[in-house]
């Protein structure tokens, strides 16, 4: 019987770490991983609340989120590989031809 806020605090912490990852890592791969982390922490929050409210909806939602995450990663990695084939790098600092 733990207070909800323990879980929420944890998920928030993880979420922010994920955010930091997106902002601070320069390899697109790492950025994707960080995004995954963000989504995961959100999932954790959802599951927590599902349990608090004794409701299934949130768990279903988590299921969808996981699906979406997978899809996004798939597309993202595909793009990344495609770009890597030309640029030989996954570093997003090197992808700044469009600016201004």
């Amino acid at each position: 019987m733990l207070p909800t806020i323990f879980y929420i605090g944890l998920s928030a912490l993880l979420f922010v770490i994920g955010v930091c990852g997106v902002l601070m890592r320069r390899s697109a791969l790492m950025v994707f991983m960080s995004v995954e982390l963000m989504l995961n922490s959100a999932n954790l929050a959802l599951v927590t609340f599902a349990n608090q409210w004794k409701s299934l909806d949130a768990q279903v939602m988590v299921f969808f989120v996981i699906t979406i995450a997978a899809a996004e990663v798939a597309v993202g990695l595909a793009l990344l590989v495609m770009i890597f084939m030309r640029k030989q790098t996954t570093n997003i600092d090197s992808m700044t031809t469009l600016k201004g």
Partner: protein, 655 residues
């Protein structure tokens, strides 16, 4: 309208008709001249008829009025186009049409061989028309039309030789004409303000109204106590304010201080124009205005005082300047300024009759002098420099005689017209107004008048011809008759207001309500002293310049007096340098200023800083912002996050 009213309408109608004919239909030189002259003669005759009819009307309501149509009827501005014919108007009209007619006739042969005679005569007719409107209008608004109309005509006639780059003595006609118009415009601004003040306070611009005493003039007395607050400049009585504003107009039109500088340059026009416009009629409009508005000046002693001082000062300045001139017409021009000063001073001192009297006589003999000088110039093949004349007495005897009469009249020698009128002014200054300073100034001015006329006679007619490559001849044609008539008039013109007879005073009394002062012996003695001294000085002037000095004067050289008086003389010659001052202090700075405004201030300050500047500022911001768009997605995410933090922060604190 009554037949009399129609008669009134005819007076200006003739010149107008003449103008239209000349402007649109006639082209031949003779035809135009004759038509123009006939129209003025007809107008003169009509005027005589009108005057006789006027004399028949009862003393207490002695006026004829003609209401033609409503000009403006907006809110408080109700102005009609209407004519007003009372004794004052009558004398002015007689002068204008009479002298005008003579000068038209004179012009026929004077302008012989001119390239644009039809234009010349058309303008001349138009001028007479405008001048008649000026003096005959029954309200200030219509008067202003005439006022500016004569200004326009003077612009046109001064610029008659507009294609010449310079006429003697080194004046550019186009510049002179523009100068005259703008200078007058300054005065007109004052008159305009006066009109608006009158409308705002009295709701009408009509002098006397339909029934003769419903105009604003009759209401001035009630308004005499009203004062206007001028903020920083203290406050001023309404009536004297109006009067002051009018003085500005007078100074412009009648070439008084500080606006007289245009008149000498106006001599760029043909000589008959100088005679008609710049001596006999137009320049006297200011005096007419003061006399017409005399109630206001009676109620505003401070304004009247200003008028007096301006007049006296101008009289003196004009006289001193006239002494030094070598151009035969410039002498007369400055003398005109000076004589106008006499009139204005007289009007300022309340001697309205005297002012009008002098106006009339001056109109006669100054016209005579100008026409005479015109004849001389004509005979000298357009030479105006007196240093190249001399000995003309033998070459043109007729001109010599009439010119002598005119000169004596102007110098105020007994018993010619000038004596009586000028003398009346002086007497009034001494006995009536008892204003010593002004009297002294005026007397001094009249001495100088005598002196420069003597000088001019000497330089022009005395001795033998100095410039041997000109062959003066006298062939007057139609110029003869006007000269004779004017000579007679200026000899006998004094009769109309002799002491003891004073027809003019009686005639004008319905307007001015003046009783003639009764003549005392002391006045006679005073007058005698003045006239004798003047005569002596005039003879002195003649002696000096016809004697040994005469041989020293050569074309293009300074006057011997310059040797003694030096720069003072030079200053006199430049009309006390006022023109120079204006050039330096007004005209050139204005040019530079406008260049600065148009090339620098408008382009760079207003457009560059206010308009383009603000636009440029946005542009700068824009570039900065688009540099922040550095193309790196991490930065995008960071900005994103900043947004989130701010929003979440707000709701967390706010909710």
């Amino acid at each position: 309208m009554t037949q009399l009213a129609w008669l009134l309408v005819l007076i200006p109608a003739f010149p107008l008709a003449g103008f239209l004919l000349n402007a649109f239909f006639l082209r031949g030189e003779r035809a135009t001249g004759i038509v123009a002259s006939l129209s003025i003669v007809a107008s003169f005759v009509t005027t005589l008829v009108a005057v006789t009819n006027l004399a028949a009307t009862p003393e207490e309501a002695r006026y004829i009025s003609a209401h033609l149509w409503d000009w403006l009827a907006i809110g408080k501005v109700n102005v009609s186009v209407g004519l007003w014919f009372d004794p004052l108007t009558a004398v002015m009209t007689l002068l204008i049409t009479g002298v005008g007619a003579l000068i038209h006739i004179y012009s026929i042969s004077y302008m012989h061989g001119d390239s644009r005679p039809h234009r010349y005569f058309a303008y001349l007719n138009l001028f007479v028309f405008a001048m008649l409107i000026l003096v005959m209008s029954d309200n200030l608004f219509l008067l202003f039309l005439g006022w500016e109309g004569v200004g326009l005509c003077s612009f046109l006639l001064i610029g008659h030789y507009f294609e010449r780059d310079s006429v003697a003595p080194g004046i550019v006609p186009s510049e002179a004409s523009a100068k005259a118009f703008v200078a007058n415009r300054v005065g007109d601004a004052g008159l305009l303000l006066a009109m608006m003040a009158i409308v705002s306070n009295f709701g009408t611009l009509s002098f006397f109204g339909a029934d003769g005493n419903s105009g604003f003039i009759s209401r001035l007395t009630d308004a005499s106590f009203i004062t206007v607050d001028l903020g920083l400049f203290g406050s001023i009585g309404l009536v004297s304010g109006i009067a002051m504003l009018m003085i500005l107009g007078v100074a412009g039109k009648s070439a008084q201080l500080p606006l007289y500088t245009w008149l000498p340059d106006a001599m760029a026009g043909p000589t008959p124009v100088s005679a008609l416009i710049h001596a006999a009629t137009m320049v006297t409009a200011g005096v007419y205005l003061i006399v017409r508005m005399h109630v206001a000046f009676d109620l505003a002693p401070d304004a009247a005082g200003v008028v007096t001082v301006i007049g006296a000062a101008t009289a003196l300045i004009g006289a001193t300047a006239a002494i030094t001139q070598f151009d035969i017409k410039r002498v007369l021009a400055y003398s005109t300024i000076s004589q106008l000063g006499f009139m204005v001073a007289a009007a300022g001192m309340g001697a309205y009759t005297a002012a009008i009297f002098h106006l009339l006589t001056h109109g006669l003999f100054k016209a005579l002098l100008f026409l005479g000088s015109g004849a001389i110039i004509h005979g000298m093949h357009d030479i105006q420099d007196m240093r190249r004349m001399g000995g003309l007495r033998t070459h043109m005897p007729t001109v010599y005689r009439v010119y002598l009469i005119g000169a004596l009249a102007l110098a105020g020698i007994f018993p010619l017209a000038g004596f009586w009128s000028k003398d009346e002014i002086l007497v009034h200054a001494w006995y009536g107004a008892q204003n010593v300073n002004v009297t002294v100034m005026l007397i001094f001015a009249s001495w100088l008048t005598a002196f420069y006329m003597g000088r001019q006679m000497a330089l022009t007619f005395a001795g033998s011809t100095r410039d041997h490559d000109v062959h003066p001849h006298e062939q007057l044609g139609t110029m003869k008759w006007p000269l004779y008539i004017l000579a007679v008039a200026s000899a006998l013109g004094g009769i109309i207001n002799l002491p003891g007879i004073h027809w003019l005073t009686d005639w004008l009394s319905p307007v001015l309500h003046h009783e003639a002062e009764l003549f005392t012996w002391s006045m006679g003695i005073f007058a005698a002293i003045v006239v004798i001294s003047a005569g002596a000085i005039g003879y002195l002037g003649y002696r000096l310049y016809s004697g040994e000095l005469l041989t020293q004067i050569k074309a293009g050289e300074e006057d011997p007096a310059h040797y003694y008086l030096g720069d003072i003389w030079k200053g006199f010659e430049m009309g006390w340098g006022l023109d120079y001052v204006y050039q330096r202090l007004l005209v050139r700075p204005y040019r530079t200023f406008s260049q600065f405004l148009s090339d620098v201030f408008d382009r760079q300050a207003i457009d560059g800083i206010l308009v383009e500047g603000s636009a440029g500022l946005v542009g700068k911001v824009s570039q900065a912002a688009s540099r922040a768009q550095n193309g790196n997605v991490r930065t995008y995410a960071l900005v994103f996050l900043i947004g989130v933090v701010i929003i979440v922060g707000y709701v967390v604190i706010g909710a």
